[in-house]
């Protein structure tokens, strides 16, 4: 999916659902398959960082990286880096205090049976 498709609402939704960090990764500037899809991503994320910083979520929790398809090593490095940084920051203020209980048995089985 083109990084230009990442609406700022998706980023906000992730934070609202309790995500500790959001990593937006796109193709390098100038290498966009669609010409200039990632230009808007850069602009959006910059504004977004200011906004979340203002309401008290650390801007470090949102990161924008340019990673090309062939840069597997870079991807691994970025994800490790980012995870470490987030671990240092601790859980997000927005993370729900109670852990949601998942329906473990009945519904799923019923669903599967119905499909069979």
């Amino acid at each position: 999916m083109c990084s230009g498709r990442i609406s700022p609402h998706f980023i906000l939704k992730a934070f609202q659902e309790g995500a500790d960090g959001v990593l937006v990764a796109g193709c390098h500037i100038g290498e966009c398959h669609y010409g200039k899809g990632n230009f808007i991503t850069a602009k959006r994320v910059a504004v977004m960082k200011d906004l979340i910083q203002f309401i008290g979520i650390s801007p470090k929790r949102l990161r924008l990286e340019w990673i090309a398809t062939s840069e597997g090593n870079k991807f691994a490095k970025v994800v490790t880096d980012f995870t470490e940084e987030i671990a240092q920051l601790g859980p997000s203020f927005l993370r729900p205090k109670k852990v949601a209980k998942f329906d473990t048995g009945k519904k799923k089985e019923g669903f599967l049976e119905a499909r069979r």
Binding site: K13, Q16, I29, A42, D50, F54, L94
Partner: protein, 258 residues
Amino acid sequence: MLEEKEVSAILALRRNSGHPTPFLFTKAEDLKDCVADEANRYPLTKILIKIAKKHPNETIGIVVRGCEERSLIELLKNFQLRQGKVKAIGIACSQELANQCRCNRPFPSQVEESDLAKPVEDFTDIDEIEKLSEEERFQYWMGQFGKCIKCYGCRNICPACFCPTCTLEDANLVKPGGMPPEIPIFHLHKAYHMADRCIDCGLCEEACPMGIPVRRLYRKVKKSVKDLFGYVPGEKEEEKGPLEFLGDGGYELPGAGK
């Protein structure tokens, strides 16, 4: 203007049993009832969108203040009104009102008066918040947002909001049925939309029945768009908001990474 058939109607406020209400003046003799005094601010441009949609071929005059003129420019830019089908009649605000609104341009462009109110540049409200630590900021905003009764007043009064389908009513983005609404996402969606569109009129904060300082949030994003891209909404008609098009990479892009 009405007598010369330059415009077919003028949209202004009229005193209706003591209260100022918006009214579409179609006869010149009715205009004596028109009120244009200081105490009343009203998003007339918002009503103009509806009227213009019904009567697309009529030229309509509208009484505007500085803020409403900026809203008019934003609406023309976003194709909500047609070029040349709107005639703005400017009125300047007093210094008192400008101070009260912290308005940075309390007069429309075509007003010819000698003593215009001085623009007020005041960002103390934003600085106040930025002084706080991260956790204090979060507590402050969650406390404020928690008061929200989801009346949509801030959106409905906003003279720069016009979408027929609103993000705030999208069930996938904001869960419906809760009270207060999902915070802070409800207010942040709106704030992001205001980033390159907010004309800083302050009506949202005046309309809020719970007294949530939403204008602070919008002023902040507006300021960050100005700092990042040098764009101020409502100033130039030919310039589009930086978040509304992809861009050509001709300016310095905010870098990736931390």
